[in-house]
């Protein structure tokens, strides 16, 4: 079964809102094994909606529209469907009753315009809206199905999950499932990962691998379509094994796992504590570490040492070292890591100093230059890095490398 989504709303074409409905529906359709090859957006315009519907009817079995079901004159979905299918508009008693109850419950007088929403094309099935006023529609016509859903995500999402998805699954009699697994990698650019998984990216369905570049990390998504969950999971398992053999410890996690979460698991397992002194990342490293629930078990303290005075007075770095090497230097990063470890009595100390930009660069030290140091009982290291991007991007990339350097202590 092939589906197509048409989103209706001038606010989408003006960029006032992001089309999260299409992303939600796409994900749900994929999980149900229903193919989706095209999605589109049109404004609140009958003629253009009719065009889009006619085109979709030539290539899909099920057309799902979102939006344009409200009570105002801008809402043109119902009339357009009625015109297209030649079904006259008739008042639906169930919808009328529901609307009357809705306003009674809210202790509000029903506006005149609302009555418009009680008229639907003759013979179509109305789907109750448990959150808002606009009912959904399921119109079967010439062996195709047109499904109309309300625009607000909080109305669309429960309606789709509760009523539309079971209807589609039943109709498609699709005995297939799609499962997926995302393998997350850091420390390598996309092009290098691409080379390392050559052959896998070219696989054809039912099992495929896609590569996605995200800030500071690369993700490989394995998808498999099969007759049942077990077969799909086994196919994914086989590919995952191959990917793990090639990328080894560049992989930090899977699916919903974050780098800071993966590091947290290691620190808990190893019963180790961490303390950080950051300058150019300005608190972002501490923020990411503490985004992990339970991080208080291993995170002792973070110091955002933005000025040299703080580096001297609180961390106790000698003025001589700062003066000789400058605040952005290998030596100061190392001292920050060493001294925060001492100050906090932690097992691991991290120091970060650099130039996040856009100002602050010099001839010898350009914007994006960052030194990251890790100090443990047994090990001392400093890494020099050069990042590109906006201030926020440089901050993020630096924290990504810092988290990864700590993680790699254990591999």
């Amino acid at each position: 079964m092939t589906a197509e989504i048409i989103s209706i709303g001038t606010e989408l074409l003006l960029g006032h809102i992001v089309n999260t409905n299409t992303a939600f529906l796409s994900r749900k359709l994929a999980e149900a094994g229903i193919d989706l090859f095209n999605t589109s957006v049109v404004g609140d315009n009958s003629k253009r909606l009719a065009c889009a519907l006619n085109l979709a009817l030539t290539r899909a079995d099920v057309i799902i529209t979102t939006g344009g079901l409200g009570p105002t004159v801008d809402d043109i979905t119902i009339e357009t469907i009625a015109d297209l299918t030649g079904k006259p508009l008739v008042q639906n008693k169930m919808v009328r009753k529901c609307l009357e109850n809705y306003f009674k419950f809210k202790r509000l007088k029903m506006p005149e315009t609302t009555m418009r929403q009680t008229y639907t094309p003759k013979g179509v099935r109305c789907v109750r809206n448990k959150v808002g006023t606009a009912p959904g529609l399921i119109a079967e016509w010439k062996n195709k199905v047109i499904i109309c859903l309300p625009g607000p995500p909080r109305e669309l999402e429960p309606m789709f999950s509760a009523d539309i998805l079971p209807f589609l699954k039943n109709r498609s009699k699709n005995s297939c499932v799609i499962k997926s697994r995302t393998i997350k990698i850091t420390g390598l650019p996309e092009s290098v990962v691409n080379n390392m998984v050559k052959g896998l990216l070219e696989m054809k369905p039912p099992t495929t691998v896609g590569i996605y570049s995200k800030p500071g990390q690369v993700e490989l998504k394995i998808m498999s379509k099969a007759g049942n969950e077990k077969t799909a999971a086994a196919a994914i398992g086989r590919i995952e094994k191959k990917i793990r053999a090639r990328l080894k410890n560049f992989i930090f996690g899977c699916d919903e796992q974050t780098l800071e979460g993966a590091l947290g698991n290691i620190l808990i397992k190893e019963k180790l504590t961490i303390a950080i002194a950051e300058s150019c990342t300005g608190g972002l490293l501490a923020d990411r570490i503490t985004d992990v629930s339970g991080s208080s078990k291993y995170f002792i303290m973070g110091l955002v040492a933005y000025s040299n005075v703080v580096k001297e007075n609180i961390l106790g770095i000698s003025g001589g070292i700062l003066k000789k090497n400058g605040a952005v230097s290998r030596e100061v990063a190392l001292e920050m890591a060493r001294r925060i470890k001492l100050l906090a009595g932690a097992d691991i100390g991290v120091g970060i100093t650099g130039i996040a930009g856009p100002g602050g660069g010099t001839n010898t030290k350009s914007v994006g230059l960052v030194y990251i140091s890790i100090v443990t009982k047994k090990k001392k290291m400093v890494k020099e890095l050069l990042f590109k991007g906006s201030r926020e991007e440089i901050k993020f990339q630096a924290t990504q490398v810092a988290l990864d350097l700590v993680r790699r202590l254990f591999y």
Copy 2:
């Protein structure tokens, strides 16, 4: 001039990512007064992309594609455009040079596959990608323009703003402009703002006002379409004046301004410095303050005092106060603010302590309870708040209130 957007990527059709590129481009096109009536998404499939392009060519003057410009076999945009226009692929020396420099800068060996990105249809204009590897394209063909942009937003957005938009504006010679202004409000829920601007939200074009709820803030977007910039700006100015009269200092800024940026401007103007001690927000407040370029002028230090030991040993809060009131208390928040101000020698001290959850709640102190204290030479205050949401949402809301409390010292 009419534009149409075609987004290319199977990951969009699978719902793995949300199509923010289309929202961004739609907004920019609207602001430039360029009509957009249709947008669509197709997967990484040459045939379906060709179909979409052919359809778009029948109804738009400018077609903008996003995605599919990478070095992998999935990336089919360039070949499809070459086939469609009959222009052979030739190596572009400028693109080659840029790519070589890119890898040199990153100190990486250029992968073989990257070379694929140096081939573009003969005669098209290549647009430099200042962030990633894939160049953009401007192909003029049969009186139409096809513009190809890279998929990652951090590459697409600067390229569009710097190179594509000026090209389109010049070509469209559009006699109408759409201007907009976003008024940003914090400290009031959407329903209250909604009531306060009644009458304005119901305005009809050419000048309209929309209300949007964002995490920790509410935004009012004024839009105006007119024959020239001056008329549109004047119409917006009149409405803005009305909004400002009603919402007064609940408004912290406009358009691209952030709350941390607005606070930064105040601190620079007042020549004041700030230091913060945060517990439950875990570094997020310092991170937000230091996201502002030039924040080193007023931000002295941040301390993420996650454990009681740090609160005692580094901040010097007496064990008695901690024991008597608990770490999450009015008294400890005040001590954190007072002592970090002292430690840093700053003009303003901020202390935050609370329970970000999901764990850590008790019968008397529930998840979401946060105490925020501000201490200056003349003033001491503590505010008790109760936030709802995920760990990240609670952290964010607490920093939003903290920033706003400091801002309000000056109103």
